[in-house]
């Protein structure tokens, strides 16, 4: 039965991932890592180890998010719906889940190892690059399996049933809250210890003396992590797998709102507030994540974090819910450009709050931050929010295009909204006054032309037309 389930599971994974559309973003992720590290090295990070360590840290966290989240989802899926009613033993389901996650873990390990391997290979030669990529792949894969599945399942099995569907998120939150401040403190008090992972990878790729003992150490750690999957998984996962049906019991709490606002801007602000208030864990998680990123940002150029933050906020411009819920917006008597402007206003308090948090963390970690530079950060956050939200609405294919072009286009736009804030952030830090005017001018420019551009593009008014990328392009049901 396990092999049967795995066969179907891999068919679905193949259709989802092993296509140009699935792999192109992965490739771009690797290239982005390489570009990032290259920029770091050119612009002043003295030590490769100091540049590599935070990249490995962040990419590992990203991979853990993927694997832990996928684990919880897959366990839920395997116990609900079709698989929930079919006569399949928990053991078979868990093996299917573990097998599927090996693929996710492998992909994320590839993302982790390839970028670092390429950079170190360019520096220390092909053999060194291949060796470090292989070791990092094995370690990363074991980390994702061991922590993302093994430790995750152990923690989830200890949670009350109703909290288990959020188990992955809670696990990661815990991990971030424990590990990240430790790393930040270490970076300040003992940088050589904090960057020891980066140092080890450099030593391996340069094949310095002691490199092989480092390789063996990492492989040993990997073995330990894999044991974490094999031993606890079966016991812990089966303990809760059968009860996941209880997890879907819904929230029967009552909420009484006060006075309702009038006017679109106030309505959107109100909804933003309600959404955050009813998901406090998410709000706290975002705040912690922002703080951690700010504290651990390597090198002298950290202002672009404001841009990244703004981009993330801007990407939620149309996030009312699922695509079908978005139709509510389109049937209402509201112009899309009006919605865009008012949504920006409703997102501004969040932008301000997170910019304040970021500034506080930067000052707390003793970065030098002149007043004009701090103001630049706020403006950069707002600009990135505005630009990303505009891109999210405006830049979509307006006619049926080949899927490959869609993916390339979307991925390039995605990286543009990351790289442009990076460039402006560097300008803001090197020439703050000029940066202020450039960022401000860009903000005003987008605000002035964004609305008319959205209004003039007729195709944007129709969310269900194919090739209009607000919704997933698929053949509409007739």
């Amino acid at each position: 039965m396990t092999r049967y389930l795995m066969r179907w599971q891999f068919l679905m994974i193949k259709r989802q991932m092993l296509t140009f559309q699935g792999l192109f973003p992965l490739l771009m992720g690797i290239l982005f890592q390489v570009a990032f590290l290259t920029v770091m090295l050119i612009h002043g990070t003295q030590h490769l180890a100091a540049a590599i360590t935070p990249v490995v840290f962040y990419v590992s966290l990203f991979g853990l998010v993927q694997v832990a989240g996928s684990f919880t989802q897959l366990i839920a899926l395997s116990t609900l719906g079709l698989l929930g009613v079919a006569p399949i033993t928990p053991r078979d389901k868990i093996q299917m889940v573990a097998g599927s996650l090996m693929f996710t873990a492998g992909l994320n390990a590839t993302l982790l190892s390839m970028g670092i391997g390429i950079v170190l290979g360019l520096r220390y030669g092909l053999a060194g690059g291949v060796l470090v990529a292989a070791v990092l792949w094995i370690t990363g894969f074991s980390l994702y399996m061991g922590l993302g599945i093994g430790l995750n399942s152990l923690l989830i099995s200890r949670l009350p049933v109703k909290m288990r569907k959020n188990g992955g998120v809670l696990f990661l939150g815990l991990l971030i809250m424990v590990v990240s401040p430790l790393y930040a403190l270490m970076s300040q008090h003992d940088p050589s210890l904090a960057n020891s992972l980066g140092g080890a990878l450099v030593a391996i790729s340069a094949q310095k003396s002691g490199a092989w003992s480092l390789v063996l150490t990492l492989l040993g750690v990997s073995a330990g992590l894999l044991i974490m999957v094999l031993l606890p998984l079966r016991k812990n996962a089966s303990a809760f797998a059968n009860k996941m049906g209880d997890v879907i019991s819904t929230d029967s709490k009552e909420y009484h709102s006060g006075r309702f606002p009038r006017g679109l801007t106030r309505l959107l602000l109100w909804r933003e507030f309600v959404t955050l208030a009813r998901r406090p864990i998410l709000a706290i998680g975002v705040l912690i994540f922002v703080s951690v990123m700010a504290a651990e940002m390597p090198g002298p150029f950290y202002l672009w974090l404001f841009g990244i933050l703004g981009s993330q906020i801007g990407a939620t411009v149309l996030a009312l819910g699922s695509p079908s819920v978005l139709a509510l917006l389109y049937i209402a008597p509201i112009r899309l450009e009006t919605y865009w402007y008012k949504r920006l206003i409703s997102l501004s308090p969040l932008s301000l709050l997170l910019s304040l948090a970021l500034t506080a963390v930067l000052l707390f970690t003793r970065r030098v931050l002149a007043p004009i530079t701090a103001v630049d950060g706020f403006v950069l956050c707002f600009l990135a929010m505005m630009a990303t939200s505009f891109f999210a609405i405006y830049f979509k294919p307006t006619s049926s295009q080949a899927r490959k072009r869609n993916v390339v286009f979307s991925t390039i736009v995605m990286f543009a909204v990351v790289l442009v804030p990076m460039g402006l952030g560097v300008l803001d830090q090197t020439r703050p006054l000029l940066g202020f005017f450039v960022t401000g001018a860009c903000t005003l420019g987008i605000a002035a032309i964004g609305g008319p551009l959205i209004r003039r593009k007729r195709a944007l008014q129709y969310p269900f037309s194919p090739g209009k990328g607000i919704f997933i392009t698929k053949r509409s049901s007739v």
Binding site: E254, F260, R271, G321, A327, L329, S476
Partner: protein, 245 residues
């Protein structure tokens, strides 16, 4: 002749090589309840999406009470309500908040929304659940809530895509009663359905659609009389003829 609230002319929709709707023309007068009947894949949902502005027609026009949907989009949309086949429920909001939010999108004041919505919510037995999150409701409750939210701004025209699917008989009957009263108040409804019994009992006129074309049009009684057969048999004959090569 009653006031014409909705008029569509030669609506057509193609997707690459496939034509989902060939030529859809109809008028909807004040007080009318029209049923759009058709088998799965006939083009009913595509038609409704074009009529409410969610999908751009390949050609043709839609006019609401004299206002072109293409040229006076915002003003035309003020006049319509749309109930989708899947309820468009916002996560995290309670039923009451959802109604207020949707009403707010139409520019209505909170007290007016309350005045219009409460009687409907009570009728649909939702008043006790309105302070619970709407994503915790059953499908039937969500569908009823979605209808209330789309009627509260008193649209001239209501477009409903299979609104009674998933409702228990009592709820379906309540919904049909609300539809009748809505039309009696001078509004108009176009309902897409494949429930012939509902069409026969409820609708002033039916349009039978298959493979993107209207193949029959008229009141249920007239169609039955002219065909000399039941509505069901007429429907099956027409839709199977179209399906045959």
């Amino acid at each position: 002749m009653s006031r014409i609230l909705l008029q569509s002319r030669n609506l057509r929709r193609t997707f690459d090589t496939m034509t989902a709707v060939e030529d859809f023309s109809m008028t909807l007068e004040a007080g009318q309840l029209v049923g759009l009947l058709g088998p799965n894949g006939a083009g009913k949902t595509t038609t409704l999406r074009m009529l409410c502005g969610l999908m751009e027609p390949s050609s043709g026009s839609v006019v609401f009470d004299g206002l072109s949907l293409a040229e006076n989009t915002v003003e035309a949309k003020r006049m319509l309500g749309y109930v989708a086949d899947q309820p468009m429920i916002l996560p995290l909001l309670t039923g009451w908040e959802y109604v207020q939010f949707v009403g707010g999108l139409y520019g209505m004041a909170p007290d007016v929304i309350e005045h219009n919505a409460m009687p409907l919510l009570e009728r649909f037995n939702l008043s006790k659940a309105i302070h619970r999150r709407a994503d915790s409701y059953s499908h039937g409750m969500q569908q009823k809530l979605a209808l209330v939210a789309q009627i509260v701004h008193e649209p001239l025209v209501l477009l409903a895509d299979e609104p009674t699917v998933g409702l228990d008989p009592a709820s379906a009957a309540q919904m049909e009663e609300v539809f009748r009263e809505f039309c009696q108040a001078g509004h108009a409804i176009l309902i897409s359905t494949h429930l012939l019994s509902m069409a026969q009992e409820l609708c002033d006129k039916v349009l039978i659609m298959t493979k993107g074309n209207i193949v029959a049009e008229g009141s249920p009684a007239t169609l039955v009389q002219e065909a000399g057969d039941s509505l069901q048999n007429l429907f099956l004959r027409l839709t199977q003829e179209e399906a045959s090569p």
